[in-house]
């Protein structure tokens, strides 16, 4: 058992390539989001170099769309930074959840992998770990796939954006939501997890309604984590 667990943190070129291929189907949809972003960014008045630079360097869709809302001839700098931080604060939790496996690697590798950590590849990796399969290749290879197609999609949006003016009518706005839900449902299911998820959902909805904007993910996730501590598994693992 100990030997099996020790192997889960493995990361090499072959695993990264597998991760790349496994995230390819969802990456194709990411092109559409990227294109929608490219189009919206042109409409918000950003020039081509800035738009490509934002997708390539920030690589976090929700916060990039939020930035467009604040964009104009002048940008409220600190409001923008606070918004970006709040929306992307879930990465802090993702890094923390990956740490038990990342800790086996050198700092350069650890932080290198985290360059491309985002919702989809992280969720796939956590599911892989849950099933006793190595997951860091999914984070790295999958992240490279997502990043490439996000930047490519952004570029396409700049030039052919009008083709995807209304992705919602095709249901394409639901791709990420459905993907993440499939990861949740495909994971461990029992009464304890159901209780944890209920806590997370309840706390998230309360925060969404009553706390400052964009705080709900972090609040809900921490509430779920605390619920997991309060109702621990006592039977095995010792």
């Amino acid at each position: 058992m100990a030997k099996e667990e020790a192997a889960l943190h493995r990361l090499d070129g072959a695993l990264a390539w597998e991760g790349f291929k496994e995230l390819l189907p969802i990456s194709l949809f990411v092109i559409v989001f990227g294109a929608a972003f490219g189009l919206a960014a042109t409409q918000a008045g950003l020039n081509e170099a800035s738009i490509i630079a934002m997708s390539a360097l920030v690589f976090a869709g929700a916060s990039q769309f939020a930035a467009l809302e604040l964009w104009g001839p002048q940008v409220p700098f600190f409001t923008l930074m606070a918004t970006v931080f709040a929306i992307n604060a879930r990465h802090l939790l993702m890094g923390a959840t990956l740490y038990p496996w990342l800790s086996h690697h050198s700092p350069a590798k650890r932080y290198g992998v985290m360059f491309v950590a985002s919702d989809a590849n992280w969720a796939m990796a956590m599911q892989a770990f849950g099933r006793g399969r190595p997951g860091l290749g999914l984070v790295l290879g999958g992240g490279i796939a997502l990043w490439s197609f996000w930047v490519l999609g952004t570029w396409l949006g700049l030039h052919f954006g009008n083709a995807v003016q209304d992705p919602a009518s095709l249901g394409l706005d639901m791709v990420m939501g459905c993907f993440l839900l499939a990861m949740v449902v495909g994971g461990e299911k029992n009464l304890r997890m159901l209780l944890i998820w209920t806590m997370a959902a309840g706390a998230s909805l309360l925060a969404w309604r009553y706390l400052p904007e964009n705080s709900h993910v972090v609040v809900g996730a921490l509430a779920g984590g605390l619920a997991g501590l309060a109702w621990g598994r006592r039977s095995h693992e010792h």
């Binding site: 950003l46 930035a67 919702d119 997991g228």
Partner: protein, 102 residues
């Protein structure tokens, strides 16, 4: 404080956004390197990892239109029966698309 977005300063704002985002990607790993990973910490992390997704999805399900809710419901149902993500996601998208054409 407002910043003009003409010329190079747009790029400077984008660089600042990138730095803030990178700090969130690295921050969790950095902090955890000072935390001894015991049984309780593992338990917290394990419970938190699914909760991130649930917390992300809950307002989406509540604030979205019926098409969005139908999409999530379809995905969950197919995932429970078939246990394969791709058909589940495709089913969800299709459900939203069909509903919104009505």
């Amino acid at each position: 404080m407002s910043i003009e977005t003409g010329g190079m300063s747009a790029l400077a704002v984008i660089l600042a956004m990138a730095v803030v985002t990178l700090a969130t990607r690295w921050g969790g790993v950095f902090v955890m390197s000072f935390v001894p990973i015991g049984y309780r910490v593992k338990q917290f992390i394990h419970a938190m990892s699914g909760s991130v997704l649930v917390a992300l999805l809950a307002p989406l399900a509540v604030s979205g239109d019926h098409g969005a809710r139908l999409a999530l419901l379809t995905t969950a149902a197919i995932m429970l029966v078939v246990k394969k993500p791709l058909p589940a996601i495709a089913g969800g998208i299709l459900a939203a698309a069909l509903f919104r054409q009505l």
